[in-house]
Symmetry: D2
Subunit: 353 residues, 4 copies
């Protein structure tokens, strides 16, 4: 293999790890050097499929391996911080499965560490790299929808209950990162409610409202106990509206030329007159590209060029601050939690780097 | 016509009035005597279709008409209280489109008035009379779902914006009445968020969480600005789960034999072990009966026998107290509002009758 | 009522008759004068809903009634010919539920009779008047789809078995009339297979292929014994393709910018190189107009002006000749039946008028 | 690797070959020894993913390899016969992608060759190994549907146009093999129509009717030029009906307790009275097993034990005789083609072995 390929080590070969291996292996610019997992049975699977990849139960061996330039971490959330920190300290670039760390504080430390060492730190917010979300972002950037009124998403299915995080850290994290990516605005406050139906487990169902400075509002509904899988997002604008259904095989995005029209109020009237507009629907072609392929190539590119990844530490920090605020609100049955000026923190963080 | 038929007067011949006329006209036990509306154009439509029904622009004429035993009111919400009170005072039984009145206080006064006069007061919570909701209630009563974990509903479409009420008084009222009808428990608190995207209009989008004393939670999402119509409810239980889609032509209710199983924890463990169960799905046959037909016959029957209607004043009061709490919570960005002991109020109210 | 309204008599108040009454009643240019049915119970229903409409068990009374200008016939198929002929002979314009008569011969006689008397003869091919089919016709006329490759339709549901006609005369008649309306070409031959699963009943399931002089082909699948209702048509063209689902509440027509592209063959190659094109999908807004309303107004207009209706006798003749050929082919297990030059017949028929 | 594993060679690493490799590699009882393909680029992909598998441009090398016990063939149809024959002659067991060979005659020769040598010959009729088709077969064997009235299937999508076979050899082959597998009856005749919309290409759209000795009928509609993918089968019975939609993620099979009921005719009546029955719908749980995994394990098992595979040469012969009859009927615009007594041929064929 040519030395120009980026050497990759993958930590964790459970649910997500094999996808990382397959996509890095499919990228001409990268080469998977080693895989670590505590479970020898999982390593045996890797050995059978990829005899050329070194396997080990000790991730430290990956850190010591000079052929490995970057580490991709796909382990339980409570291990992310330690593993990522060790990898950065070993001089490796790092890609971490979402969420980056279980608290904003720990995320800040990882950002600091990466900045100080000039290493790439990227979070695996896979949905940002789907052709569907990229098309939505493009439509919003071009103001096709007019002013954005709302983002309303439902993300539910049966399982998998996780032990170390609740449903918002598992599922809502996707929507919060998408909202951040496609909207110009930062949320100013969060109200959330959640419930737990299994004694001793974290919340398995939650509803989160994000307030913005303008009239825009975002709502995210997540559920680990749904009888059917739902991945549906409605985005309403003053001119058009989008229905994004990630389970549709081809027509994932439908753009509706529907909405209300407002007649200018007459002098003595305080209300607009509302009319309804029902026009055509349009489903732009969405390429069937695998998001993770796009993402690993973006990671390799950022490592090579030093460019800031789309899903960098800062963006992850903003996502996690929303998740923390949501958790706080859940504990207070929906009481609104106001967010600190988010942009400020990472700037300061970076300034100290 | 035989005098044994209940004479009906309908106030308001706009959107809902014609449905009331058609269904009362289709009931052998009732006879539509008169229709009133302020708009002579609408009365002309009634005249063309039903030359035998008296029409008038003055609803007082219906109240004076001795052939009319009961008044059905299908006018804007802000007129409900005055029209219903006048009808009761004229000795007429009353059926009122939902919501019964714009505040719990006014509802209490109507309940008092009807009780004092021994007249039937019923609210047009049409969904309670659909075969689908009745089937769900039957399944829940038989404990088919086990313990109820959640009720999660989305009810949205494009329009119609109403001027005197917001979207929760228009759409969430359906779900709150269904929740009350199918669940044993009373909600203890409400958190709601809402937003308004048309200056000078009431909220057109809202999300409401109802907390109960047990682990059960209910969530209702309503939206007047949705590009597509959605009428979907998920009900999760410890044994089975329901998806109720009112837009499905025939399979409105699907019962999923899916869920989680909990292994008893070992002595030193504090957590249950969670397993997943994916079994068959079953869609019970739902008769294609029109709910409003069932409802008007129930109304006629209650008038005849003096029985308490399923959707009586008390049940309406409970619904409206939740709506009021939700409105209050919206104003405080989701802060929880605790409900008074609801059952208590109507009992006292009734006691004074 | 002003004398300028067209007086209408409806024969048959079973399944379709009430729809005719309601729509003629809703047309300002028409007035329903009388309704006849052999069943007094059905007439009682009419009396209750429309006290102003005369009812009778003897349809001859409608024919004698000078206030009646036109007769609409909604009775079993085997009675269509006699009833329509009698109405024409009584000088009434006639609208007949499809199919116009049980044989092409009888249809020719009705056309002759109407032509001779200068009366309007129209068949109730309702689907031609739906906004969806009219939109499809408009797209095809504008060559939006390029060359038409195929029309492939499925129309099935559970019931209603009819005693005097088989499933193709009940359901395929819709598609054959639509095909005739939207395509420029006349079919030249028919192959059909059908089967009967109830001893003593006519075919309840059939598949029909229509051959055209060019490469276009049409296929119609009909079934009275389907567990679910299907009303779906695919139309393929060289440039675009349509999926028309009549059960969709709003997006009945979807236009796909999909297809194959052909590279010109190189000199020594005899085959084109095929490429695939997957572009956007577009669902034009379809007005929610009721087809029967459009149709009765078209009928009234044709009576007034003497214009030829879209679904006139000639078009019905062409449809019925296809149905007859299909029945013949079914008896021969799919053997192709070549159609006579259809256009010729009606022209001769008309020439003799 | 233990010698007890069956050594596998795969010929063809285009569309289907990688799936064969992945599934044989995932089977503990098999080991993929070598892969051959004419295209070195495709071999490079195999090398990158599976460094331990030998690759070659010369399939003869696989035949000579003593570590290879069985050959799986996934090449264009016109090469199947020669490759399979060579493999059998080299003493290898053979699994061939469907259709086994381009004519019934050639299939007979392969059956003879395999029988003579006592080798396993199996065709890759993947759908027979899906949990959905196996569940349908189980329901039919248990007579859950009563008498089978019809099998009606649509299988369409955009592409892929194949050069050496038409759409029925590509797509209808699935349904014909399923019909053979789930029904007791053999078809007695075939009527088919087909059309070609690309000059110089084989038919890209076809409709096939299979007649049986009893009232049962089967219809298969296939299309390479459909704007959307459809994989839908309706199976009607006297007691229940099935809708099988292979694109549904979980509820692939829905069993409807719907149908008609026949009252015994009175003495002088020749017709039954038909009633309609609309009961519950039931979707049995379908395991998410990959069909190809089940299939390769069945192949390995048959090689080991000498058992006859479900999709053996004989069953393939019966499928191909139907395909040949359909092609003949298409050339005659639907004229029915009667099938020889199919069961007879293979018995004789085998007898001579």
């Amino acid at each position: 293999m040519p030395s120009s390929q980026l050497g990759i080590g993958i930590v964790g070969y459970g649910y997500w790890g094999p996808n990382l291996v397959r996509n890095f292996a499919g990228s001409p610019a990268a080469r998977v050097v080693g895989v670590s997992d505590l479970d020898p049975g999982k390593l045996a699977v890797s050995n059978r499929l990829y005899p050329g990849i070194v396997t080990t139960q000790h991730y430290e061996e990956l850190l010591k391996n000079p052929e490995i330039d970057a580490i991709a971490i796909a382990t339980p959330v409570h291990t992310h911080y330690d593993l990522a920190l060790a990898a950065l300290r070993a001089g490796k670039h790092v890609l971490v499965e979402k969420p980056l760390a279980p608290s904003a504080d720990l995320v800040c430390r990882l950002i600091d560490e990466a900045d100080r060492r000039g290493l790439t730190l990227m979070v695996d917010h896979t949905f940002l790299y789907t052709p569907a979300v990229q098309k939505i972002r493009e439509l919003l950037l071009k103001k096709e929808l007019g002013d954005i009124y709302y983002y309303d998403s439902t993300r539910s299915s049966l399982g998998l209950f996780q032990k170390d995080i609740n449903v918002i850290w598992d599922l809502a994290v996707h929507d919060i990162s998408i909202i951040r990516y496609i909207l110009d605005e930062e949320p100013i406050a969060v109200s959330a409610t959640g419930s737990c139906h299994v004694a001793g487990s974290p919340e398995n169902m939650a509803h989160i409202t994000l307030f913005f400075a303008n009239a825009c509002v975002a709502h995210v509904s997540v559920n680990w106990l749904s009888p059917v899988k739902v991945r549906q997002t409605f985005i309403g604008g003053s001119k058009k509206m989008i229905v994004y259904d990630d389970l549709e095989p081809t027509e994932k995005i439908k753009v509706y030329d529907k909405g209300i029209t407002l007649d200018a109020p007459s002098e003595d009237a305080h209300q607009f007159r509302i009319g309804y507009r029902a026009g055509d629907m349009w489903a732009p072609h969405i390429a069937p590209t695998e998001a993770l392929q796009t993402e690993v190539e973006h990671f390799v590119e950022c490592v090579r060029t030093g460019a800031q990844p789309i899903s960098d530490g800062i963006s992850s920090l903003q996502v996690i601050e929303v998740l923390e605020a949501a958790s706080l609100s859940i504990a207070q049955r929906g009481a609104p939690i106001f967010l600190k000026r988010l942009r400020g923190i990472p700037e300061r963080t970076r300034a100290t780097a």
